[in-house]
Symmetry: C2
Subunit: 233 residues, 2 copies
DNA sequence: TTGTAAGACTTACAACGTAAGGGCGGCTGC
DNA sequence: GCAGCCGCCCTTACGTTGTAAGTCTTACAA
């Protein structure tokens, strides 16, 4: 007889840091980041909670690792984009990379929030920024301007902006526009704007606004501004 | 004898939602947001944890309330700034308001993170955005452009950007530049940039970068871009 | 066969948010 | 004056979380 406890049981894949992190992403993908607990993560792996601690230091380490895995995924995607022969095309190249990074993050909606809470910056994230910086340098940026550029882009460089009004955040039961209508006296301009936008575009892609279009608007605003400064310098 | 339990004890100020929220801000100010627990909050008020639930629904409600109080504080500050007689000065007015909002948030470093997690938008925050919108409208913005503008500004409109590399986030024991030096091979551009910046400006205000200057750079980049679009339209 | 060490499991604890209910003091109606 | 009520606070207790400490199991080397 083989050394299995159960004859019919699967051979039990051993745990590993890699496997733990991938499972963590999978749990968060299906149940949101708040559903990611050490016990549930272990259950997902067919193990007990404390067994995970042999492969990760603690929960913070799991979150650090998750960010690193996702940033690596982003790098794999953007590294397939070929860099322009002419450095002057920096804007197109940077734009393309950022929008590709965004596509990856859209598959993990909970991830931006985790990225923002990390204080230990992952090497994969640094690699991403380094490549972006390389494109800017090739496009004629001084280090000083490139430095400003990274700050100006902020988290947008990785493909996300925090939406302050998240129309999908609520339970969806209450129409936000209805709530606004009754306080038109206090918020005249907001109510005016929303009523016009709703009128022009009865069903935009997601709730109030088309997130993708707004993201690109802000991104292009910044990239164009940087380009003008670059030319002037 | 009076109806006090203790003759020498202070008369015991009754709890109230207002008092609970102010105490919550005070606790977070002194110990960080992760130190804000219902028990500690109660202790800070000389009460028991469960007593708070008579004045707030739950902890989420506390956080919602805290955001509202801080946004109200911001409104009080920015409402003292007089609006320009000439609408064309929209940019100066908007800029001034945003930088004032930032000053308030700098007194509550933990607050941006809380603002971002809120899904129920506070009325005070909406009032802030409404006033900003009013300035843009007076400056000649269409509702459509103003709408884009709010998205492009994002949380910057309230005075903060999420710093992806927070030099103060670590324990300060390890110099981040030292860690970077050894991976110069992997991050050539970042290392190049940092070494030049450190060389030019040996001790900038806070760690690597002057946060305030970077914030204003990004803000002006966006405001200038918006102004150009406004003129073109 | 036996020692060893990596890797998984069991048990246990402190801290958290909060549900349920008890009691006290001051007000209102008689 | 006093009975009843109700607003406000407290006590107790439960389920969930992260994780410290110790134990068992398994695979392999000697």
């Amino acid at each position: 007889m083989a050394s299995q406890t159960e004859p019919g049981a699967e051979p039990r894949i051993p745990l590993s840091r890699e496997r733990v992190l991938r499972a963590a992403i999978s749990v968060a993908d299906s149940g949101g980041i708040e559903s990611l607990t050490m016990r549930r993560l272990a259950e997902h792996l067919g193990a007990e909670a404390m067994s995970l601690y042999y492969h990760v230091a603690n929960k913070e380490d799991v979150l650090d690792g998750v960010v690193d895995v996702i940033a690596t995924e982003i790098n794999e995607v953007v590294d397939r984009i070929d860099v322009p022969a002419d450095g002057a095309d920096w804007k197109k190249a940077v734009r393309q990379r950022i929008l590709s990074a965004r596509e990856v993050l859209l598959r993990h909606r909970w991830a931006p929030g985790v990225f923002e809470t990390r204080t230990n910056t992952s090497l994969a994230v640094l690699r991403y920024y380094d490549a972006l910086l390389g494109l800017m340098r090739a496009g004629g940026f001084s280090y000083d301007l490139a430095h400003h550029a990274l700050h100006a882009l902020g988290s947008r460089a990785l493909g996300f902006t925090q939406e302050l009004f998240d129309p999908n955040g609520g339970d969806g039961a209450t129409d936000p526009a209805a709530g606004l209508a009754e306080m038109a006296g206090q918020l005249p301009h907001l109510v005016g704007m929303l009523s016009e936008i709703v009128h022009d575009d009865p069903d935009s892609t997601l709730g109030w606004c088309d997130d993708q279009a707004e993201f690109e608007f802000g991104l292009d605003l910044i990239l164009d501004g940087l380009d003008r400064i670059r030319e002037g310098a």
